[in-house]
Symmetry: C2
Subunit: 233 residues, 2 copies
Amino acid sequence: VERELTSLNAAKTTKAYGAGEVVYAEGEECRGVYCIESGLIGLRKHDLKTRTTLMRLRGPGDTIGYRALLTNMEHQVAAKVLIPSQICFIDKELATWLFANVPSLGLQFLQNVLGHLAEAEEYYFQNVTQTARARVLCVLLSLYERLGEALPSGERVLKLPLSRRDLAALAGISPETLSRTMRRLESERIASFKGRQVCFMNMVGLLDEFELSDSSAGLVTNDSGQSNAHRSR
Amino acid sequence: VERELTSLNAAKTTKAYGAGEVVYAEGEECRGVYCIESGLIGLRKHDLKTRTTLMRLRGPGDTIGYRALLTNMEHQVAAKVLIPSQICFIDKELATWLFANVPSLGLQFLQNVLGHLAEAEEYYFQNVTQTARARVLCVLLSLYERLGEALPSGERVLKLPLSRRDLAALAGISPETLSRTMRRLESERIASFKGRQVCFMNMVGLLDEFELSDSSAGLVTNDSGQSNAHRSR
DNA sequence: CGCCAGGTTGATTTCGCTCAAGCAATGTGG
DNA sequence: CCACATTGCTTGAGCGAAATCAACCTGGCG
């Protein structure tokens, strides 16, 4: 096992990506898989013509591009960098070999996929059950989990790495509805928005509303044990 | 490899379940995984109190109960038999061992999970983009794929294994809307409903509407399918 | 016979989408 | 440096699909 991991360390390459850079494009042939070490990646799919829709977010600990590898198809989504990221690349052949020969690694990876599956089902559920307002809040909370800061003054602040359009897409609503919802949240004294700056004004009540304890999950019940720090349970 | 499979065959047990029987309940501790050999299983989740909602269908070839096993949690959904089924059970310890030591099996299993992931994402997409009518038709078609019969007379017939409530849940709509939709489909001469009997009157046009070829249909397309009509957003 | 769960139907309401206009910030070319 | 276009966001008005509320069937069963 040690030997394999050594060879893995030798064969993998880590690269720094800048914001806006494309890791792989939709329809592109799969060259291998990517493990995100830091940063934030958006998976997008174009629906009609030039329009492109943000589908999912992926962050540290997530592996992306595996679907294309394992189904032997071209990428169905594009991966684009939202905030500067360190991404480790594993070549197609090596990845295949690893899957076929290192069960422990495959098992660990399976956890990752399982997390994505849970996420997808959660999204589905949200869409059927929850109102637009609740979904927006969930998206904001999951973003806060990833990128938020608690200022010494006690304010909970978040710098959005997304346009309104993308944010709306994540919540599964139109940009107009998002805008209205945000204004409503302001009138409810729940949060305030200035450009891409979000400030949560009642985080306690918010977490309460979603029956979450502090710093535990949001929309994304990330079960992959490898994601960053928190969540030991 | 041969040896492992032999021991697998020795350790697994196959059991016949009758309609309505519970394979495992929500919140129950995971005892192992189940492979469906024949029949049909419904995965349900209770949303509030006594109310319980049908989430997914699982049929021959599907493995269920793995999520609880791999995340070391109790079952998040209940599995209930819809039509009499043959189900093969693999004990928790054995399953864990197999995952950890037989990469080929894990890889094969990974494909199964990948399929479920694609299914979940497809469901999500459907819900955002398609109308109630289209979703009902998709559910009916996927059921027809599993249980439908083409009578010698040429009629395409299907005996529903579900209540209206469950059918509506699958399509992500309320029972009332389902009822109205069905009546509308009848007035459109697309299908007719008598109790749990469904009769498709224009299967060709139907498959055409969803850009599907005959007998390769269903809600779950290979993920090249971003189906047909997508509203941009 | 009456009860009851499941199903249908009708009336009303609501939520979010579409269409359309207005506005601020950023480019762009003369 | 200024008119002008472009892009991203917000706001308003109207509309429509589906949810909700509520009454009413229907068939099975004690």
